[in-house]
Amino acid sequence: MGRAKLPRKSTTIDMTAMCDVAFLLLSFFILATKTKPPEAVKVMIPSSVSSTKVDAKDKVTVTIGKDGKVFLAFEDKAKRMDIVKDLNTRFSLQLSPSELEKVNSAEVFGTPLLAMKSFLNSSKENQTGEKLPGIPALDSTNNQLKDWLASTVAIYQGSKINLLLKGDGLAKYTVFKNVIDAFKKNDLMKFNIITNQEGLDPSSALYKEKSSKPKS
């Protein structure tokens, strides 16, 4: 009886294909990851139970730092340029065309209007960080955030402004109030406060309301 002889197979597997897959995935993840937008200062945002997602496009972010400094960031490049041009003419900041060109690389603004010229001429590293004075929003007489937002409203003209407020938990209410005042003056009546999401107490009324209603 001739038993069929099993051919001895090699136990080594060709790894080339697997290697290809691994590196393909790796490059995909690296390229698909969006880098964090630049931040003027580090802020520790407070948390809330709100689970509303922030609309990711065309953000206008007002940041309040720990020490009450106010920063303003525009995501849309073209509109940012228009806003700075508008401020330039309204307050005669005398920015040269080459200085206006530098607006393209600066996303976050945190200087008084009069210091805009030197701000745009400073190096990239100096355009963010703790050393910046912030946009003056301290009192009603010199609330320059109001002027910034007035230009913003003028440039956006009717289209919705995705206004976000990002504040450090330790910032004083007075600064927050001045920022709200600047919003109100420009008829920006709706805005989002960015918060960290936290769990909801099951005994609370909101939890009961949410669970009684079927999810839409």
Binding site: P46, V54, I64, K177, I180, F183, I194, S204, L206
Partner: protein
Amino acid sequence: MAEMDTSSGGGHKKGPGVKKAKKMSTRVDLTPMVDLGFLLITFFVFTTTMSEQTAMVLYLPKDTDKPEEQNKAKESGALTLLLARDRTVYYYEGILATDGSNFKSGSFQGIRQIILDKKASTNPQDLVIVIKPGEEATFKDVVDVLDEMTINVIKRYALVDIAEPEVMLIKATEGAGGAPAATPTTK
């Protein structure tokens, strides 16, 4: 695949004078490279935090000087929360008594119970909570109180500037070194 056939002529005898050149395999073991690839993938996947931001929406009322456009709050349904420094909360129901007898103090832990008690004892249509952050209150305090409104499903609340008599009362209470005598213990 990326391997070359090196076995051909392996056992073939050459002539006596011909030295047999040792044939090196061109095949590379790719296992460590795969390991490295997947290690990097896991590293990137784990270090990347999903940066989906959540936010609370706040609608501001329009400032108006005309009395007929201003919202009226019934005295019986009003609860005023005053935010002072170090996360202390002072509160009173209705209108502040001139002698400050209904002025009480609490903390952020007790605030939910105060709101819930008020909510249970008043007509839902009359209920309005007035939030008055003081000079010393922080942004976090304000967000936390607004959050309490959401948690307890309070439909009507307002963010109002603090008034002078209230500041005086807070100062007096803090100066006395603690809560006024009328304070109920809140948990």
